[in-house]
């Protein structure tokens, strides 16, 4: 299923994925099931930590702007692209809504 991340999506981290933070503030997203790890930069780590099902990309981008210096104006696209990447890899998803 293809899921497109929009500026209002509420993505949530896959709890099976491990964030490994390193001394230089970079990190790894490690999938122990597949044995694959991807390097992410400090902004990626910050975004990852806010994929809690409560923050939209817009909200995260606002926080990124406050947390980091020299954030470009078009950074919302970058935030959405990052989240889309982790969603496509199955590292994050969306809570299912059940009709009653």
């Amino acid at each position: 299923m293809v899921t497109e991340v929009t500026r209002t999506s509420l993505a949530i981290r896959n709890p099976h994925i491990v964030l490994r933070e390193e001394f230089d503030d970079w990190g790894l997203l490690f999938d122990p099931e597949e044995g694959i790890a991807y390097g992410i930069n400090p902004v990626g780590i910050y975004i990852w930590k806010h994929l809690d099902g409560a923050h939209t990309p817009e909200a995260i981008q606002n926080l990124v702007t406050k947390e980091f210096e020299h954030v470009p104006a078009e950074s919302l696209d970058d935030v959405i692209e990052f989240i889309q990447t982790v969603v496509d890899k199955g590292y994050a998803g969306f809570e299912l809504k059940h009709d009653r």
């Binding site: 491990v18 964030l19 001394f23 790894l28 122990p32 790890a37």
Partner: protein, 361 residues
């Protein structure tokens, strides 16, 4: 790094074999009792919380532990992967199935030292060859990645081509690593029988260089004749180009392990490396691994080895190869000089030449 990426655990000191060059059975790492399951499971929780990625289980023989599958489940439940270093002789179809069922196994490394029982069993004991091969087959039947370690010694150095054919052609093992019987543990008692002579080393270097051309990318070495041959060739090539030095050489840069990994003995004592079992730096579930990793003076000292110039050691005095040398493995240095922050004679090019060795292979 805030925590180790991987951890090497000697999960037991018990073994069903007594290989004549084993680094145990004459070492401070030989402890009386193995820790109970619960202690290890508690420790695995700490490792998972520190985002450690891989646990490597060695021994002794890990498959001797009746609770091995419970331990593997504990590793998996804490979002880590594992590898097992084994002599292969106790691996059954049932055990292989249970290992596979965890879906977290990076590899099971089995030791094979000969292409026939006569050669393999000469250092490992009667019957071990057939049982190790059967173990490999069980692992392969369950699609578990198998790697093989070949330890090169005086009795198998003339069998390397046959070993490569058995492992890489017949058994279709994807990767084989090599090292040599070294001056640790039982090998210290049996050195005359198993250690490589200078002639053996040259035969091994020549054969392994040829085999690694024949099987590209499938034969590796961090130590032993193949690693030495590659390093010595690199030195000669640099000299031939009148290159004054090789980047990162001329200091004790032969080991970066303490930046990546840490080890634990079978009694739960934390040590920098399984080959340095005398350097006790804490005990699991009693001290914080994170604190040890980041602050322990022994690890800090090991990590600053790379700033110690080889020219400061009398051992290296007058050596023309200093700008091309790493000083090699700290455990090798400790075995000879009782000091890990020292160059090791293992892999010393000057000593190799002085003993009659030649890189004109």
């Amino acid at each position: 790094m805030r925590s180790p990426r991987s951890i090497d655990i000697d999960i037991t000191t018990r073994c069903n074999l007594r290989c004549s060059y084993c680094y145990h059975f004459n070492s401070p790492g030989d402890v009386e009792d193995d820790l109970p399951t619960a202690e290890w499971l508690t420790f695995f929780e700490e490792l998972g919380n520190l985002a450690v990625m891989e646990v490597s289980l060695a021994g002794g023989e890990p498959f001797l532990r009746k609770d091995l599958v419970d331990l593997l489940q504990g590793i998996a439940e804490n979002k880590m992967r594992f590898s097992i270093i084994s002599n292969g002789t106790l691996i059954t179809d049932t055990l292989a199935e249970e290992v596979a069922s965890t879906r977290r196994c990076n590899t099971v490394q089995v030791s094979i030292d000969g292409a026939s029982p006569i050669v393999h069993d000469s250092c490992r004991g009667s019957g071990s060859f057939h049982r190790a091969i059967a173990g490999i087959r069980c692992l392969q039947d369950h699609d578990i990645p198998v790697s093989v370690r070949v330890t090169i010694h005086h009795k198998n150095v003339r069998d390397l081509e046959n070993i490569a054919a058995l492992l890489l052609d017949t058994l279709d093992i994807s990767s084989v690593s090599t090292n040599a019987a070294d001056y640790f543990g039982l090998c210290q008692q049996n050195a005359a029988d198993v250690n490589l002579t200078i002639e053996d080393r040259m035969i091994a270097m020549n054969t392994l260089l040829n085999l690694s051309n024949q099987y590209p990318g499938r034969i590796s070495a961090n130590a032993g004749p193949l690693a030495e041959a590659r390093m010595f060739q690199e030195i000669e090539a640099a000299l031939a180009r009148n290159q004054p030095r090789i980047e990162g050489r001329g200091f004790l840069t032969g080991c970066n392990c303490t930046w990546q990994t840490i080890a634990v003995r079978a009694d739960g004592v934390i040590i920098p490396c399984t080959l340095l079992p005398h350097l006790e730096i804490g005990k699991i579930n009693q001290a914080s691994l994170s604190d040890i990793w980041q602050n322990h003076p022994v690890l800090q000292r090991m990590r600053t080895r790379s700033s110690i110039p080889l020219s400061s050691f009398s051992y290296c005095k007058g050596c023309r190869y200093i700008p091309y040398c790493t000083g090699n493995c700290p455990a090798g240095a400790y075995a000879v000089f009782d000091e890990e922050c020292h160059p090791s004679p293992e892999g010393c090019y000057r000593q190799f030449l002085a003993a009659g060795g030649s890189m004109r292979l």
